[in-house]
């Protein structure tokens, strides 16, 4: 009630506050911006780190990366050395047993991580560059350039993906870099389309018009103004791309055309389970590999989803 305010210090309370005095009171309106401004990346990171599953997944992924980097140091045995009994169940310091010719399964799994990481990250790096460039160019310039790039994209997309990979890999030899390159060179169309689609809408946005009106050159507009705005979808796409590449490499190895043999990959380790005896009687030789692929892919997928949510949450607001 009005009376409750009391008359004691009525003067103190009921005097007009001028503009200068107003500033001495905390300005709530400006609060959102008076504290440290968050960069885009920081905001996304903040959101991302609120997602527990994604954070755990990121941890797993980093762990796998470290394992890949320090494979040699971490492995109890040399990668290809025939050090143990043949096809033995776990014993001594062969924690996951040995394979058909007495190599330590654990050490090979650890080295297999390298393959997956190289193929996953490498192929994605390749296709992101190709896909992004073509998508940007195609979307921004339109017209004949766009039609041509889109036809090529369609053609590449219409190729039976797996068959082409199989053929190219048997053609070029199944080195880890070949697999990486082939996956990279064949996987760009989806991203190119995605980027193109984004560019098509972005280039009609006023901030791009503003950039044109400001006098930026075309590459300046493409790379300084448009590209930063498609980074997020590219990032999400790339994350899922890593997962896909790891799976594809594993499938190729499983079919016997993956990474060259003495070099272990999760897929070629797992492919040994095609032998019924290994499948039924020597689970240590294939179950860990399968679980590793699964965990790697799952965690990357969760990271991707976490990113997607963080980014989309961002754009919605």
């Amino acid at each position: 009630m009005a009376q409750n305010v009391g008359n004691k210090n009525a003067e103190a309370l009921f005097h007009l506050v001028d503009a200068r005095e107003r500033l001495t009171y905390p300005d709530n309106a400006a609060e959102g911006i008076t504290d440290e401004g968050d960069s885009y990346v920081k905001t996304i990171a903040k959101r991302f780190f609120k997602n527990k599953v994604a954070v755990v997944s990121l941890g797993v992924f980093i762990l796998l990366l470290l394992i890949a980097v320090f494979a040699t140091q971490l492995s109890p045995h040399p990668r290809d050395a025939i050090t143990g009994q043949f096809q033995a169940a776990p014993y001594d310091n062969f924690y996951l047993g040995t394979d058909d010719i007495g190599r330590d399964v654990l050490s090979r799994l650890i080295h297999g991580t390298q393959v997956s990481m190289i193929v996953g990250l490498g192929s994605v790096a390749i296709y992101v560059v190709i896909g992004t460039t073509l998508g940007l160019v195609s979307g921004y310039f339109g017209g004949v350039v766009d039609s041509f790039i889109m036809r090529v994209t369609e053609a590449v997309m219409s190729f039976p993906f797996f068959m082409v990979i199989l053929t190219l890999v048997s053609l070029l030899g199944s080195g880890i870099w070949v697999v990486t390159a082939v996956l990279g060179v064949l996987s760009w169309p989806a991203l190119a389309r995605l980027v193109r689609g984004q560019v098509l809408t972005l280039k009609e946005q006023d901030f791009v018009h503003a950039a044109v009106a400001t006098g930026y050159s075309t590459p300046g507009i493409l790379f300084k103004h448009i590209l930063p705005n498609v980074i997020s979808p590219i990032l999400v796409n790339a994350t899922f791309g890593i997962a896909t590449a790891i799976l594809t490499e594993a499938s190729l190895s499983f079919l016997g055309v993956g990474v060259q043999k003495p070099r272990p990959s999760w897929g070629n380790i797992l492919s040994e389970a095609q032998s019924l005896r290994v499948l039924t009687a020597q689970p240590w030789r294939w179950v860990p590999a399968g679980i590793l692929i699964f965990i790697a892919v799952l965690s990357i997928n969760f990271i991707g989803e976490g990113l997607r949510e963080a980014i989309e949450g961002e754009t919605k607001n």
Binding site: H209, A210, G215, N229
Partner: protein, 326 residues
């Protein structure tokens, strides 16, 4: 209102400008059919009209955001379609700037305010030293009433009004002579609109700018403009001094437009009479003698030659009436 036009020197001349989209296809849109008007140096020219009448399209053509279908546009006496070389283009871009409708959409969400404003400086080589450039950005921010702390922030951290100020600062950065404000205040809250309009007016005086002010809101347009053009369906139907336009709206479309604006005054709203505009009323069979004709000094109407005397008479009547009430 701006000072009386002393010596009127057109900075922009638009002659029979046409813009068709998707020409020849089924989806062809004749966004602009025939637009002619001039803007004088130092004035604010308001452009109003219903949604889709071609206002933005005209503004974009003026700042060379695409090729035009027909007609000619002169800026400072030069046909802008002839500006091709990068050097000339940069000069043109430095001289003309634009403020957009949606304060958020017109700022790149991935760039900081410093990058946005500084970028404009950099492109035109106005401030090559990066420290000096930052100083300059601070200055610009201050001039539009923003704290320099804002420089390292991203647009989405700002309110609409603040964003629009950033947009204005960007436009001002290159020290243009001419600014197109395409619905620069439509997306803002009433309480913020006034802030921005005041700012625009202030800056105009300080920097001796010329504005093309495109808007829906006729009360704001009247408030800010010296002269006003009314567009409908891809054509400019009436061009006049701001005051005269409101006192003596001659074209029936202008009339209907003015009568449709609700005023924040319940009493007058209770007595408002709306006039509707029926485009069929002007169905000219032959466009030969139909054009923008000068009915009175500085007052143009898109009409048939034969209609000129009628409009003149109407003008007299309306002006007389207005004076009575004044």
């Amino acid at each position: 209102m701006a000072a009386e036009p002393k010596e009127k020197k057109p900075i922009v001349e638009i002659r029979s400008y046409k813009q068709y989209f998707n020409e020849g296809k089924k989806s062809e849109v004749r966004a602009v059919k025939d637009v002619s008007f001039s803007i004088y140096e130092g004035e604010t020219f308001g452009l109003v009209g219903e949604s889709g009448s071609g206002k933005s399209t005209t503004g974009r053509a003026l700042i060379k955001l695409g090729d035009i279908t027909g007609g000619q546009i002169f800026y400072k006496g030069e046909d802008i379609s002839q500006i091709k070389r990068r050097k000339d283009l940069l000069k043109f871009r430095k001289s003309m700037q634009m403020i957009f409708q949606d304060p958020y959409a017109s700022l790149n969400p991935r760039l900081t305010v410093k990058e946005i404003i500084g970028g404009a400086l950099k492109v035109h080589g106005l401030e090559t030293d990066s420290n000096k450039r930052t100083e300059k950005v601070y200055e610009l921010l201050e001039s539009v009433g923003l704290n320099k702390q804002f420089a390292n922030r991203y647009p989405r951290e700002f309110s609409g009004g603040q964003c629009q100020r950033v947009g204005i600062a960007r436009a001002l950065a290159v020290q243009p002579d001419f600014i197109i404000a395409d619905e620069a205040i439509s997306a803002l809250d009433v309480s913020i609109q006034a802030q921005v309009v005041n700012l625009l007016k202030e800056l105009k005086e300080q920097n001796n700018l010329t504005y093309l002010f495109i808007a829906h809101d006729l009360s704001m347009v009247k408030y800010i403009s010296d002269r006003i053009g009314v567009m409908n369906n891809g054509r400019v139907l009436e061009v006049s001094n701001a005051g005269e336009l409101y006192e003596a709206p001659l074209h029936p479309y202008t009339e209907s437009l003015l009568s449709a604006i609700p005023t924040p005054d319940p009493e007058s709203e209770r007595h408002r009479v709306r006039t509707e505009y029926d485009p069929a009323y002007h169905h000219y069979d032959n466009l030969d003698r139909v054009a923008l004709h000068e009915i009175a000094p500085e007052h143009f109407i898109y009409c048939h030659e034969d209609e000129i005397p009628l409009y003149r008479k109407k003008r007299e009547k309306l002006l007389k009436k207005a004076r009575q009430y004044a």
